[in-house]
Structures are given as structure tokens and as C-alpha cells.
């Protein structure tokens, strides 16, 4: 998924649907989206508020909920910067240089998207679990990775690995290298060129990748579920905590915590739409500029 800039259609007088056909199609589309997207969303808030606001807000004072939120924030805070540095490095190498094997490298970067979240978690159990490759060594040195925070962070990094890179690669490829070459010829150093020229050019794409990566890092369930061990108050992330509350029939609690993540998803979509609007504006300015000159 890359930033989309879609032109909307001007309707032609010659061909086009009749008004009834048009409104039938719109109605079916709206009904389909209501059924699959809006109804579940409404259900989250309806279930969370079933016993009123007092019960809703008291769900957040629970000790285990707070520690789940803390763990999720820690995980996202480690994951996003690491994948950000990787994404920028990968995009710089792939977009600014021509070398052999580039196509294979891009495919390999995309691999984690093709792998089931459960398998993503399993991979780390096979490496660091009790019966895994490094299991006995880790036990000997008293290091815990699986059923502990390092495992959760590793699985999250794996699952969100491609987000920022795949956002930046096409963007930087489309921008070419002329501006950087000019800066270098004029005597700027490599890092200075990067921070003054490249970074401002890619800032919207970067932010776009970061918010998508962050949303997935916070919401990841399958992979984290495999490596976490579900220890209450210790290795439960927010999505895992929702599962536990739900399985204990504490529906109000489960949906109250879920409503937090739902609001976060709204925020993600809002920022995403804002970036799309902003980059469409930039494109418009660029084309206006070139028309004038």
C-alpha cells in the first residue's frame, strides 16, 4: 500500500449509467460497507457502554489493564524506531543506486507480509524456546526471550518489518537522485545532503509508514500470542489482555479496552487521510509550478 492519489472522474454526457442504476449501485456499496465495517465498529462502543459510563471508565483502572497498556507502548517504542532506521537505509540503497539482485532484495523485504502471524511467532519459539536451537544455551545463561518481553518485541519487529521500507522505496525511486547530486557537487557532505535534501522530500511518506507500522505494532495479536505465554500483568499486551477479559466473560471490560484500540485506529485513518490530502496538494503545487515555467 502506498500513498494513493486518485483522480476522481468527470462524468461524460455520452456514456454513463442511468440515475436509477447509479443509485442502486451506491446503495449496495453503502449497505455492504455498513454491514462489514460500520456495524462491528458500533458494536464495540455499544458493548463497552452496556453498563453505563461508570463501568466503562472503571475498566481502565484495573491493574492488569494498565500494565498491558504499558507493555504495548514499550513494544511499539522499540519496534517503530528500529524499523524506521532499517526502512530509510533500505530505501536509500535500493532507490539511489543501481546494483544486481535488487528485485530479489525487494521481494525478501516483503516476505513477512506473506507469512501467517502465527508462523511469525512460531519462528522465534523454534529459535529461542526451551526446545529451540538456542534454548539450552539461554537456560544456562538465565536469559528469557520466549514468554518474556524480548520475544514479544522480536515477533512485533518481524511482523511490522516491511511497512516503512515499502512506503519509502517507491517514493524515493520516483524522486531520482538529481537533487542529492547537486548538493554533493556544491560541497555538502553525505549526511548533510541526507538531512537537508532527502529527508524533507520523503517526510510525508516516512510519517505514513510510521503510523501504519505503529498501528500494526500496537494491534498485533497472532504472533505475539504465540511468544507471550499470557502471564497476566507481565507479558500481556493490550490485544492479548482483551482476549483474556473476553474469555473470562468480562465483556464490558474487553470491549472497553477494545474501544481504546478502535479510537487509535480512527486516529490512524485520520492521519492517513491527512497525509494523502497533503501530498496531493504538494503534487498539485509541483504541477502548477512546472506549468508556469
Amino acid at each position: 500500500m502506498s500513498i494513493k492519489n486518485i483522480k476522481y472522474y468527470k462524468h461524460s454526457k455520452i456514456s454513463g449509467e442511468s440515475r436509477p442504476a447509479k443509485w442502486t449501485l451506491i446503495t449496495i456499496a453503502v449497505l455492504f460497507l455498513c454491514l462489514f465495517l460500520l456495524l462491528p465498529l458500533a458494536a464495540v462502543f455499544a458493548e463497552a457502554l452496556r453498563n453505563g459510563f461508570r463501568a466503562y471508565f472503571s475498566s481502565f483502572t484495573d491493574h492488569d489493564t494498565i500494565s498491558a497498556i504499558r507493555l504495548t507502548l514499550i513494544t511499539a517504542t522499540i519496534t517503530v524506531p528500529l524499523n524506521l532506521v532499517f526502512g530509510v537505509a533500505a530505501a536509500w540503497a535500493i532507490a539511489k543506486f543501481e546494483f544486481r539482485g535488487k528485485g530479489i532484495l525487494i521481494t525478501l523485504i516483503d516476505l513477512p507480509f506473506a507469512v501467517s502471524p502465527v508462523v511469525s511467532g512460531l519462528v522465534f519459539v523454534l529459535l529461542f524456546g526451551l526446545n529451540g536451537w538456542f534454548g539450552p544455551w539461554l537456560v544456562e545463561h538465565n536469559i528469557k526471550i520466549i514468554f518474556a518481553i524480548p520475544g514479544i518485541v522480536l515477533a512485533t519487529i518481524f511482523v511490522t518489518f516491511p511497512f516503512i521500507a515499502r512506503e519509502l522505496i517507491p517514493l524515493m525511486q520516483s524522486q531520482g537522485t538529481e537533487e542529492e547530486q547537486a548538493a554533493l557537487v556544491l560541497g555538502a557532505g553525505g549526511w548533510r545532503t541526507f538531512f537537508k535534501i532527502t529527508l524533507p522530500n520523503i517526510k510525508w511518506g516516512l510519517l505514513y509508514g510510521v503510523i501504519l507500522c505503529n498501528a500494526r505494532a500496537i494491534g498485533e495479536f497472532g504472533a505475539v500470542s504465540v511468544v507471550s505465554g499470557h502471564i497476566r500483568g507481565q507479558t500481556n499486551t493490550v490485544p492479548l489482555h482483551i482476549e483474556i477479559l473476553y474469555n473470562e466473560y468480562n465483556f464490558v471490560g474487553a470491549f472497553a479496552v477494545a474501544s481504546l484500540l478502535t479510537m487509535l485506529a480512527f486516529l490512524t485513518l485520520a492521519i492517513k487521510s491527512f497525509i494523502e490530502w497533503k501530498s496531493a496538494e504538494n503534487l498539485q503545487e509541483c504541477s502548477d509550478g512546472s506549468n508556469r515555467s
Partner: protein, 276 residues
């Protein structure tokens, strides 16, 4: 063809950025994935084969692939329709609908799972209405299809949308002025142009659905042989400390994922060739 690995450039940082990329990629993705195949290498062929073809595992493939296929087909039809409506018509609320299409990407799968269950359970808003009609959705295979349709929804819409928007209008106008009906124009002129992108979007949705876990486990009910998806079986085996069994099933899933990746790459090349 030059034999040199890299072409000349005055830009600095190639060694550092490529080196770091390959180092991080190997550390996080390649070595961990290779460990699955290495671990599977410890099993002998017979062990592997009996695990991945046991009746319970076979039933889970049928459900996972069957439900993913139906969900991808539903998304192909409705995704195309939604993309069409969003690109071609102006109506109030269009921008909102366009923004909310990506919700399944942004909403954590566990939240989607419990929300869909709340809607479709026998006590839920829609389940309570469908149950008396004899239609079981939650805790039945239909529930799996519903969850997978939700997770796959953005793929077809987002792959078809740009292709539909770039479609040139002249051919449609020409056909219409020569007397073709609207249906004929769609079938003969529009559909052939957008078909590769519909197929790509469905393939992406299918690939995602096969491995999906979080949104399915709540609504499916997880009854062995009936509503148990393949990723859940891996977790069940792990919980019983049957690492070998879990690995064997994971290898099957990985091989299928890589095959899907290849197919999708070929499809995307086809789409790129059709666009000019």
C-alpha cells in the same frame, strides 16, 4: 550486460546502507525463517507426512482454504462495486467511506474478532435476526467467511481504484455513440481493462486470509474437525509442546505463502503491462 555488481554513482553511503539492510534483514527475517526449515529437517519424511495429512489437519485446510476462497470471491465482487462507486460517483459521504475502507488494516485483528462476534452471535444484532431463520453465522464456517471478508476488504478496493481512475473515457464514449448499451460497454471495454487488478486484489486478500488468526478465532468457535483453522492448529500443537507437529504444519503454510507470493508477483506484472 556488465559484470559489475554496482553502477558508478557519486552518491555516498551505498556500502553502509546496503550492508545494514542485509544485516538487519538476515537477523530479523531470513535466519528466523530458515530456522523453521532447519527444524523441519530433523523430522523424517514419514513423521512429517502423517502430521500434515492427519484428518484433523486436513479438515483445517479445507476450512482455511475454502473460507479464504469464498471471502476472496465475495471481496472481488463487492470490492469492484465499491471501487466503482467511489471512483465514478459523487455523493455525500463518499470521502468518509473512502477513508474508512482501510479500517481492516488499522483495526487490531482481536478487536475485529470480538466486534464481529458481538454482531453475529445468536444474541447479537444480526445473529439474533438470522438465527430464527435457521442461518448459523457465528461459531460456524459462515462466521469464518465473514471474518475473512472483513480482513480482505481493502485489498480489492485499493488495487482496482487507481486502475479504474486511470481508465480513458474515449473508448467508452466511442462505444456508446456507436450504439453499445451500458452493459455491453462494461463487459467488452471496462471489464477486460480492470480484470487483472481485480484478480490481483483477490489474490492478496486470499493470501492474507489463509494465515489470518486474530479476527477468526473468536467468531469461529474452534471446534475440532468443524471450525478449526490451520493457524489455530499450530498454536494448539505448540501448547502441547509438540514443536515437531507445529513446525510440520508451519512448513506447509510457508510453502503455500511463498507460492502465493510468486503468483501475486506475476499478476502484478500482468497489471503493469496492461497499464500504459
Amino acid at each position: 550486460m556488465s559484470l559489475k555488481f554496482k553502477q558508478q554513482s557519486i552518491l555516498p553511503g551505498f556500502g553502509l546502507s546496503l550492508g545494514y539492510t542485509i544485516f538487519y534483514l538476515s537477523l530479523i527475517v531470513l535466519i528466523p525463517l530458515a530456522s523453521v526449515f532447519a527444524y523441519a529437517g530433523r523430522l523424517n519424511w514419514e513423521q512429517f507426512w502423517t502430521t500434515v495429512t492427519s484428518p484433523r489437519v486436513l479438515a483445517s485446510y479445507r476450512l482455511s482454504f475454502g473460507a479464504s476462497f469464498i471471502a476472496a470471491a465475495v471481496n472481488a465482487v463487492f470490492g469492484l462495486l465499491v471501487a466503482w462507486v467511489l471512483v465514478r460517483y459523487q455523493f455525500r459521504g463518499r470521502k468518509f467511506l473512502d477513508a474508512i475502507i482501510d479500517l481492516p488494516f488499522a483495526l487490531p485483528t482481536a478487536v475485529a474478532g470480538i466486534a464481529l462476534t458481538a454482531v453475529y452471535a445468536p444474541t447479537g444484532w444480526l445473529g439474533g435476526f438470522l438465527e430464527p431463520l435457521g442461518i448459523k453465522t457465528a461459531f460456524a464456517p459462515a462466521g469464518v467467511v465473514i471474518a475473512l471478508t472483513f480482513t480482505g476488504l481493502p485489498f480489492v478496493v485499493r488495487t482496482v481504484q487507481p486502475v479504474l481512475a486511470d481508465l480513458s473515457k474515449e473508448n467508452e464514449d466511442a462505444a456508446a455513440s456507436l450504439g453499445a448499451t451500458r452493459i455491453q460497454v462494461f463487459k467488452r471495454i471496462i471489464f477486460p481493462e480492470i480484470f487483472p487488478s481485480v484478480l490481483t486484489g483477490s489474490a492478496l486478500a486470499f493470501a492474507r486470509a489463509v494465515g489470518e488468526y486474530g479476527s477468526v478465532v473468536f467468531i469461529s468457535g474452534n471446534m475440532p474437525m468443524k471450525t478449526e483453522i490451520t493457524p489455530l492448529l499450530i498454536i494448539t500443537k505448540l501448547e502441547q509442546f509438540d514443536y515437531a507437529g507445529a513446525t510440520a504444519i508451519a512448513v506447509v503454510m510457508l510453502v503455500i505463502s511463498f507460492a502465493m507470493l510468486l503468483i501475486i508477483n506475476l499478476l502484478q506484472r500482468w497489471v503493469a503491462r496492461n497499464q500504459f
